[in-house]
């Protein structure tokens, strides 16, 4: 007879501050037996749930992290597997489903969270609003040529663009290279913004032109926003209108 297996809930915890969690994300952690994930994220929440078993792993051990969490669930425990931001955006929700093929009977649920594109946009004002594209500048698992192509296509399509992983210890010049590619298509005066330490101490926003951004050095805690052709600076905010109609009262279905 089969033992009852546990449930694995993949939880996006947002940018880090507890008040940017959703109620269902909190409840998943409150109701689980085990909190699992990358140790930096686990450390953000463990004090709020002192009675939980903690299973944390170091950086770059993503598959091992998924296996450990699924082993816990297969042994009958309910697991909250946490990721920063949203687990479905540069997070581990996908890898969990891949690895979970080896763990039949473990139920998987994904609880969405506020990814840096949204939390960073709120800090800057309203830089996205309309169609936009997310692009990671990390070439660890994506060839740089693919990243370049996406930058060009996003610029050619007049998308607002959010850049994740604009810098790393090993590759400090990625943002500069990305700006140079974008400047093949976009003008120097395109409105851009950066947000550092979203939702954490030392949160900081800056507005630039794309020409200026090319010479800015950012760290790995920074998210970068490139406006579309309509994006403007209003005071210290970066604001994109909802469409191309000039009259403000023209109407547009919200979603």
């Amino acid at each position: 007879m089969d033992e009852k297996k546990g449930k694995l809930t993949v939880v996006g915890i947002g940018p880090g501050a507890m008040d940017k969690l959703t109620f269902e994300a909190y409840r998943a952690m409150e109701e689980c037996d085990v909190i699992a994930g990358y140790h930096v994220y686990v450390d953000l929440v463990r004090d709020s749930f002192p009675d939980k078993k903690i299973v944390s792993t170091a950086m770059r051990r993503e598959e091992e992290r998924c296996v450990q969490a699924l082993e816990e669930a297969a042994a009958g425990r309910n697991v909250a597997f946490i990721c920063s931001g949203d687990a479905g955006v540069y997070g581990l929700a996908g890898l969990i489903f891949e690895v979970a093929q080896d763990y039949p009977g473990v139920e998987i649920e994904v609880i969405p969270g506020v990814t840096a594109a949204l939390s960073g946009a709120a800090c800057l004002g309203a830089p996205l609003i309309h169609d936009f594209a997310l692009i990671s500048l990390s070439d660890l698992m994506t060839p740089w040529e693919t990243i370049e192509k996406r930058l060009r296509m996003a610029a050619a399509g007049d998308f607002a663009i959010v850049l994740y992983n604009p810098s790393s210890h090993r590759r400090k010049e990625h943002l500069q290279k990305a700006c140079e590619i974008l400047l093949e298509i976009l003008p120097e005066n395109r409105v851009c913004g950066t947000v550092r330490n979203i939702g954490r101490e030392g949160e900081e926003t800056r507005i630039y032109t794309l020409g200026e951004l090319r010479n800015v050095h950012v760290d790995m805690f920074t998210t970068v926003f490139i406006g579309n052709a309509s994006t403007k600076r209003i005071g210290d905010k970066m604001v994109t209108p909802r469409g191309y109609a000039r009259e403000r009262g023209a109407g547009f279905g919200e979603q």
Copy 2:
């Protein structure tokens, strides 16, 4: 002497269910004097905050809605101006900053929420994971030619794609037209998914190929996901790997 002006907080309330709110979104409504917004969204939350003044407006009165909310704040009241999903994604955060130029002294804050791209992705499994583009198929404020161009660029860049407003009362054939454009570049067997009534009663997910999706009729409560070249179907889930490396253990910075 100036009277003290109120604060206007633009609040993304997520897909509708109260447990998909963030704690800070809830607190903004709890602490305000006035809850303002489109009547459908106001109705979702008013029972939870029975002592608040309510200022709600009909559809397509977006600028009037912003003016009313800003008038309340200018009169010294703290206002929670609510949008579904995230106010910075096809919402009114941008218009608030534009209209607020006529209301100096009113402080504006934006609180992010879970937009349909994220909440819908969680229902489908993990269809985004890596770089993706959001495109609205509404041509109320964007020329259809611009929408077509963005569809082509997103397909050419191998972005996963999320389609907002895939259908409306007046334009039922937009999704079909979009699929035909995408099929100029993408194969018939590209994995796609739809989510209807995200986070609400009757929530429903479906997985299709792009060839099948062309012949599917969806309503305005549906969000559509088009996979990238790596997206696969795993059981009843739509899953995109994190990159192009085949080995699962290759590592990738999370964000």
